[in-house]
Symmetry: C2
Subunit: 341 residues, 2 copies
DNA sequence: CTGAAAGCGCTTACAG
DNA sequence: CTGAAAGCGCTTACAG
């Protein structure tokens, strides 16, 4: 491995001159730069990034911290586009990406704050954090700027967040069902602590309230964003409450489980029961009937989060909430309810 | 940020003692270690990884290099499980993962060899390389050990490779069709240079030959692993060759396009035409009719590749080819051909 | 078992 | 425009 000193010996210039030329500084003549660059090329010189970062403290690395990825099914596939979105923005801005995946088990092993400080990470993007996670506290105590994806803005005193308006999206999804004359609408939610779950739950309630429909707590179930649990929950729900004519699921994956349960119950979607999902994963449009759902772009989430952290590092600014658009995709899993109330 | 010198001053031990205690070396008394560790905890000390790596040259980083990820649709989602597989093995072995994503456009910008040498990467895993890529040459010239995922073993004089037996898998897929009395079987391939495409093409030919079926070059088309192109190609194919009763697609994504085209042509799958895919992506089992296809695990590919590179670094050994299992998933897109020849 | 000293490969004031 | 020197925060022979 060629080093700066090798170029120095080869060209006769000082170590300083070589370093400056290689970094294209102003105070070196073009002639000198050319000689040095040629020598560097000839020697196949590649700078040692550890030495550079140690000395200059200028390493441009941003961490993407993915929490509990195993919670995400391969079927959902939201993290991959998100990663691509982050990567695209990072590459464009000359930042380097450090990936840190927190598996549920080794959470105790090492904190991601240590991870970031060890390698002098300048900023972090966090995905998959729940509102009751310790991690949020860890973050606040660290000096590292960060942006959170899909984290609620309430009670988090001004953090940088990229999200969609989950409340409104869930409101629209529920209202879409109400508009199709559904009155007994079940809600299958992902959990109680995930921010998106909390928000979607709020949107569901709002829509019912606004249209004068009573909130039946019996119609609301938690299925942990799991297809299998949604399947089980749906079966139980419809056995107990045959008056239900529609289900709003807080994720497409759960909607898939719900549709399967309905099928096993010999309830036709959408003739007997209407279903709305959330996320618009690829599967949603391929399933039969194609699933009506809320579309959001995970690529954009990653991309905007990376842009935000980059701009935060350039100029310190006030904490910022970026709300990305969502869209109700009307497909074939919702029909007009003809049952009499 | 606390440094070793701070602990040194706080405890009165030398810099050497502190460093050794923190790294749990043998030649430090337990009593001293305890004092130093306590001080480190109190000072919230976190080692600077750049300094450590610069000095010790012992950085345990392995690069995962993903080439042309945009070629992969979000629908396919093979890279995410692969990344998880790599990550799991790396974490278990105390290696750190450096992710390098080569987008088609910035291929010229910086070579991944420079990327690896800059940060003193010890080994690399490469995905998405095609047999005609420059990258393979770059690799050979570098001193960095590497393992390739899904690269052919022919003409690559003994590289480390993790793959499935694509030839046999394609053979089985084609034979499955032949076993169902199909004689006119189209083959829609991904490309000509991707290794998996070359291998699957060979498997298709072998199956025909073994069963005494003629190879009709008109029945073979390239659709670049694209759903849209497979759609177009299938339409053209069946307009020109109504005698076709089956299609083997070299990827599930293309099979999706083919099924859509068949549907538009008012050809029923599997009644009129049988279809077999490849990969067993999540969509395959959800589509109606559920797609018969070849299952392979991308998580395992990543996991085994990471294990292999780790063992390569521990003890130099002969180049190794790891062949992972595949499995024909019989679902509902294949039926017995009743048309007379 | 402990410590003084050198050095990993760079960048950056500072002086000229 | 160029160079001599110091130092980033560690680890590691070496000596005791």
């Amino acid at each position: 491995m060629a080093k700066i000193d090798d170029i120095m010996k080869m060209t006769g210039f000082s170590r300083t001159a070589v370093s400056k030329a290689l970094n294209d500084k102003d105070d070196i003549s073009e002639a000198t730069k050319k000689i040095i660059r040629d020598a560097a090329r000839e020697l196949n010189y590649i700078p040692n990034i550890n030495a550079r970062n140690l000395r200059s403290k200028n390493n441009n690395v941003i961490a993407l911290i993915i929490s509990s990825p195993s919670a995400e099914s391969e079927k959902t596939n939201t993290l991959y586009p998100l990663l691509m979105g982050v990567n695209k923005a990072m590459a464009a801005q000359q930042y380097e990406l450090a990936l840190y995946i927190i598996d549920s088990k080794d959470q105790a092993a090492k904190s991601y704050v240590a991870f970031c400080r060890e390698r002098n990470v300048k900023g972090a993007i966090l995905v998959g954090i729940k509102t009751d996670d310790d991690y949020i506290k860890q973050l606040k105590n660290s000096e590292i700027p960060y942006v959170l994806i899909d984290v609620d803005i309430r009670g988090t005193d001004h953090m940088n967040v990229v999200k969609i308006d989950d409340v409104t999206a869930a409101f629209e999804a529920t209202e879409h069902l109400i508009d199709h004359n559904h009155k007994n609408i079940a809600f299958i939610n992902g959990g109680k602590t995930a921010t998106v779950a909390i928000d979607r739950w709020e949107g569901y309630q709002k829509a019912l309230a606004e249209h004068g429909l009573p909130l039946q707590h019996d119609y609301v179930k938690i299925a942990d964003f799991s297809e299998e649990k949604a399947y089980a929950v749906t079966k139980a729900l419809f056995k107990q409450h045959p008056e239900l004519t529609a289900v709003f699921c807080a994720s497409d994956l759960m909607a898939l489980g719900t549709m399967k349960a309905l099928d096993d119950l010999e309830l036709d979607v959408p003739r007997d029961v209407s279903v709305v999902g959330f996320d618009d994963i690829p599967l949603a449009s391929y399933v039969k009937p194609a699933l009506t759902t809320i579309n959001q772009s995970f690529f954009e989430k990653g991309n905007k989060a990376a842009d935000l952290i980059a701009s935060l590092l350039k100029e310190s600014q006030d904490k910022k909430i970026i709300t990305l658009p969502h869209k109700l995709m009307r497909r074939n899993s919702v029909a007009h309810n003809k049952r009499s109330a």
